[in-house]
């Protein structure tokens, strides 16, 4: 797939912009950022992302970085496993999950966008890619989310458990006595998000202006 050489030409950029829904300027800016992160290489590796100082304080940066190297998020053909390095196109595709809504969108497009965004989030929880967020995975995420305050380290497991039970209640309704709720499937995940318009929340404002020089 098209890992670019140092300077992508017009056509490539336009092609990418069409494919990912970014504007041409945004693609250019992101490309510059990509180069900056990858130290002028054509591919990006995990270490590069871990090296971003601003990201260091982020409690779930492992998941965020992992999302970039997760095939499910950019490879539609074989959505399995992880890769060691990604090219610019993959980088852009992952970023494209965070595009804001457009003013004019049909209901189907909106729904599609919503599904994509939720799938991305779901993948961040579902580490082993079995289509289910198991209790261990859930606990892990909650633990990381709360890892900044040391006092509540113990409570995080309890919270995850409570959340899991809640999920079971919401999704399964009444269960048989011997039934066990194994994990949150994507359908359940959708069910929990019902009524919350994630499409208006989960977005990054991709600027049209270049300020990469200001960031480390």
């Amino acid at each position: 797939m098209g890992a670019f050489h140092s300077r992508p030409d017009e056509n490539d950029i336009r092609h990418l912009a069409e494919k990912t829904g970014f504007s041409v300027e945004q693609v250019e800016i992101l490309h510059r950022r990509f180069k900056q992160l990858s130290r002028d290489e054509d591919t990006l590796q995990r270490e590069h992302l871990y090296g971003i100082p601003d990201l260091e304080r982020n409690p779930i940066r492992t998941q965020i970085v992992a999302a970039f190297f997760d095939k499910r998020n950019f490879d539609k053909d074989s959505p399995q496993g992880t890769v060691q390095e990604i090219g610019f196109e993959q980088f852009l595709t992952v970023m494209s999950h965070f595009r804001p809504l457009k003013l004019r969108m049909t209901e189907e497009q909106r729904e599609q966008l919503r599904l994509e965004k939720l799938q991305f989030l779901f993948n961040m929880y579902d580490l082993d890619n079995d289509g289910k967020i198991s209790l261990e995975e859930y606990r892990h995420v909650v633990y990381e989310l709360l890892s900044q305050n040391p006092q509540i380290g113990n409570e995080s497991a309890a919270i995850a458990d409570a959340a899991m039970l809640e999920a079971a209640r919401i999704c399964m309704g009444q269960m048989e006595p011997d039934q066990v709720y194994e994990g949150i499937t994507f359908q359940d995940f959708l069910k929990m998000w019902t009524g919350i318009d994630i499409e208006t929340k989960m977005h990054v404002r991709f600027l049209k202006m270049d300020n990469t020089t200001l960031c480390k």
């Binding site: 950022r33 992160l37 971003i52 990201l55 982020n58 409690p59 779930i60 940066r61 965020i64 970023m95 804001p100 003013l103 989030l121 961040m124 606990r139 995420v141 909650v142 989310l145 709360l146 900044q148 305050n149 509540i152 113990n154 409570e155 497991a157 309890a158 919270i159 458990d161 409570a162 959340a163 039970l165 809640e166 079971a168 209640r169 919401i170 399964m172 309704g173 009444q174 269960m175 048989e176 006595p177 039934q179 066990v180 709720y181 194994e182 929990m192 998000w193 009524g195 919350i196 318009d197 208006t200 929340k201 989960m202 977005h203 990054v204 404002r205 600027l207 300020n211 200001l214 960031c215």
Partner: protein
């Protein structure tokens, strides 16, 4: 029902009016030339011919002395009664906004007063309005402003309120001035300044009714916050403009330097207000840091400091509204963490109470004044005012939205814009400002009449139609009130992800600034302002809230918090059972007896002025316990026993209750070992099968039905109900109504233990028997379990609950 209550109200109204009329007539007749001052009771003025000096007056009436507070009390009562009156009949308030009804009642009262030639009360004066009626309204709005949403949409809110208000004021003012130039209308004497002043008055939107509708239909957050914020800041700006134009309109000549100074004044007034608000907000937060031992005074600080901010800003002629709003915004976060749960509730209720009283009074007076005051009706002026109000508002929203849409990630759609423009109702503040124009002001009556006409038009026509219109347009909605741990976790995770992605692609936006602020906040502000400085994630606090909810729901459904461990505790504690009863236990037994037997007289509660009574909660729990026991007695022998009760009738041999019990004990004694117990309970090895994991913590596992979650999070509309009442009101019908489409009825919601196979077969079979036993046990053996409960309640004066896993020493005085 509705008509009945209205009749009753009318009677009450008539009675009160007659009373006031008669008494003030007496006052007029018997008045001595020197009016008595209220501060000198030793020199009373008699309304009836004074008895001879040498006799001690056996009976005397001193109406003038109490007249003012008496009449104010009556007015407030009357207005509040009216409010109760039409809330009795729900269907009215769904379709007709409250303010319409208030105005209507006011009109009726005004009509009666007019027919008996009573003058409208002199209560509404400039000082009264600005010093007493306005502050509660804006304080309430500022305090309950959803902070997070506001800061996320800060720019848009300010854009619409500042630029929008200026646009409306100047637009309406100038076009009305144009109308005044037409000779045929006969209003050529109104000059530009006066028109501008009127334009300012009339451009104050006050969309309380609209916000109520928005909240009910769960309109999307962006629209909601913009309308909310606009109404708030718009007041501040209008009041600033109002005093500016009032000043200018009384000048003979306006130079350009005056306009320049006016503009400068506008900014000084605004920013000065914000500075004072910040100052007092921080002072208030800092003060509540030290109130741990004087809990009952906590609400005072909130009110007094914000009022002080208001007054000081007024002293320097700065924007007092800005000051009080900023003060409330600043302190809210810190104060709510410092004060006790109860004080927090008190603060919220008081704010709601005061603001609704003020607003009720203003609308009420609007109705009364409409009938009783002199009017000057000018078709052209009033008609064009109305038209310009609508046109300029519509245009303003359209233009401003087009501009701001370029800067917003989620632009406003045309539907949003329409709702925003249509939601521009005029209200209390608009009326007050018009009514408070000085009497010497030329054409004051015309302005008042026009303002009243616009208010009545917008409130009645737009207020009533906005709901069907929103439904019809299908404006984008969101479920703002959904509060589950899952959603909280997911949205936190999402936010962190977004922040991470922003960092990754080197973009800054509000998450960046939020991060920065959070850092400063954690590093400096919290350390200084918060007593118990432990950074808390919102997930944890939500979890705790839900746990508390959970406990209360269990309490409600099972009739006793010690339901579960009661069986175990009976066995555990029998050996160590003390011979004597604890005082709390005796008290609870007495309470039990007094509740269940015929009531001869009420026991008097111990009263001290300086501390809050602690009995209330225990009492409440007992009360509820009785009611649920009664309920289950009725249901005994059927399968319809509350689901939670099944869980609690687990055989005492179930091991998983042991750690819980230990936890309870440790939290009762308040020693620090509690933490270890919690740890041992929570840190179960992940290698175990899941089924076991579940069984490990059934108690925290039990989630309350979803609709209950909303009660902790007291939202704006919830003001009329206290949370406690809420639990009581929890009926099956309300539940199924709220949880439609979710398939979580009472029974389902409360049966999670079944899902995990916790509930063994034997338990199922013996269910009935055990229920019966439990009841028997409660009735005849008030031994260990009740003692534990009493002790727990005694040690549990704050709303902490052992389930919350908080170490108790925090709460020791």
């Amino acid at each position: 029902m509705g008509s009945l209550s209205i009749w009753r109200l009318t009677l009450v109204v008539f009675y009160i009016v007659v009373l006031i009329h008669g008494s003030s007539a007496a006052y007029g007749n018997g008045k001595t030339p020197t009016t008595s001052s209220p501060g000198q009771p030793s020199n009373p003025v008699h309304t009836f011919p004074a008895p001879k000096k040498e006799y001690l007056p056996v009976f005397q009436m001193n109406y003038p002395r109490i007249q003012i507070p008496f009449e104010i009390t009556l007015w407030i009562l009357l207005a509040s009664l009216a409010k109760i009156g039409f809330h009795v009949y729900h269907k009215i308030t769904v379709w007709v906004p409250e303010c319409c009804l208030l105005i209507t009642i006011g009109l009726i009262v005004g009509g009666i007063m007019y027919s008996v030639h009573e003058e409208s009360p002199a209560v509404l004066t400039t000082d009264v309005f600005f010093l007493y009626l306005l502050p509660p309204i804006v304080l309430d709005a500022g305090y309950f402003m959803p902070t997070r949403l506001f800061f996320e949409n800060c720019g848009t809110v300010l854009w619409f309120s500042v630029v929008g208000t200026l646009w409306n004021s100047i637009g309406i003012g100038i076009s009305l001035f144009g109308i005044c130039q037409i000779e045929a209308f006969g209003i050529q004497d109104i000059n530009l300044q006066e028109n501008l002043l009127f334009g300012t008055i009339i451009s104050t939107v006050d969309p309380v009714a609209v916000l109520a509708v928005f909240e009910e239909v769960n309109i999307n957050e962006q629209l909601y916050i913009v309308v909310f914020g606009e109404s708030l800041y718009n007041d501040a700006i209008t009041v600033a403009l109002y005093s500016l134009f009032k000043y200018i309109s009384q000048m003979d000549q306006v130079d350009s330097i005056d306009i320049f100074l006016g503009t400068a004044d506008f900014f000084v007034v605004g920013f000065g207000g914000i500075m004072f608000g910040l100052l007092f907000g921080f002072v208030a937060a800092f003060t509540t840091r030290f109130t741990a031992n004087t809990r009952e005074l906590e609400p005072v600080f909130v009110f007094m400091y914000s009022y002080l901010a208001y007054l000081i800003a007024e002293l320097f002629s700065l924007s007092s509204i800005m000051a009080i709003v900023t003060c409330a915004l600043t302190m809210k976060y810190y104060v709510e963490e410092n004060v006790s749960q109860r004080s927090c509730t008190t603060i919220r209720h008081f704010l709601k109470m005061w603001s609704s009283v003020s607003e009720t009074l203003i609308f009420f007076f609007l109705g009364v004044t409409t009938v009783t005051s002199k009017h000057e009706w000018n078709w052209a002026y009033i008609g064009f005012t109305l038209i310009f109000c609508i046109v300029w508002r519509g245009l303003g929203v359209l233009v401003l939205a087009q501009i701001i849409n370029n800067f917003r990630t989620i632009p406003f759609t045309f539907k949003d814009q329409f709702s925003m423009a249509y939601g521009g109702l005029r209200g209390a503040i608009c009326f007050s400002l018009a009514f408070l124009l000085p009497n010497t002001f030329p054409r004051r009556n015309l302005f008042t009449t026009a303002a009243i006409a616009v208010i009545i038009f917008t409130v009645f026509i737009q207020g009533i139609t906005i709901r069907p219109l929103i439904d019809y347009l299908n404006v984008r909605r969101t479920n703002r009130k959904l509060m589950t741990i899952n959603v909280e976790i997911h949205s936190r995770a999402m936010e962190h992800t977004i922040a991470g992605i922003e960092d990754l692609c080197g973009q800054w936006s509000h998450y960046y600034w939020k991060d920065k602020f959070k850092k400063i906040n954690d590093r400096f502000l919290r350390k200084v302002l918060i007593k118990d400085n432990r950074p808390q994630s919102s997930i944890v606090s939500l979890y705790k809230k839900l746990e508390l909810q959970n406990a209360l729901v269990l309490l409600d459904s099972n009739g006793g918090i010690s339901g579960a461990p009661s069986l175990t505790s009976l066995q555990e504690q029998k050996p160590t059972k003390p011979e004597t009863f604890l005082p709390e236990e005796v008290w609870s037994m007495q309470e039990l007896l007094s509740k269940n037997m015929y009531k001869i007289h009420e026991r008097t509660l111990t009263y001290t002025r300086h501390s809050l009574p602690n009995e209330i909660r225990t009492k409440e729990i007992l009360l509820r316990r009785h009611s649920t026991i009664r309920k289950s007695m009725r249901k005994a022998g059927t399968w319809q026993t509350p689901a939670a009760a099944k869980y609690y009738s687990l055989p005492p041999t179930v091991q998983n209750l042991q750690p819980r019990l230990r936890l309870r004990k440790s939290s009762l004694t308040g020693d620090d070992d509690g933490d270890d117990d919690i740890a041992s309970e929570i840190n179960f090895p992940p290698a175990r099968p899941r089924l076991q994991l579940r069984a490990k913590e059934p108690r925290r596992a039990l989630q309350p039905p979803r609709n209950k979650l909303e009660t902790v999070n007291e939202v704006r509309t919830d003001s009329r109900r206290t949370p406690m009442v809420d639990y009581e009101n929890r009926g099956g019908s309300a539940m199924s109504e709220n949880s439609k489409g979710r398939g979580t009825g009472t029974k389902r919601a409360l049966t999670p233990m079944r899902q995990f196979g916790l509930f063994n077969e034997q338990g199922l079979k013996n269910k009935e028997k055990e229920d019966q036993m439990e009841m028997e046990e409660f009735r005849y053996t008030p031994a260990a379990n009740r003692r534990e409960e009493a002790r727990e309640e005694a040690s549990d004066s704050e709303t902490t609950h052992p389930l919350l896993n908080r170490p108790m020493h925090q709460y020791k005085p």
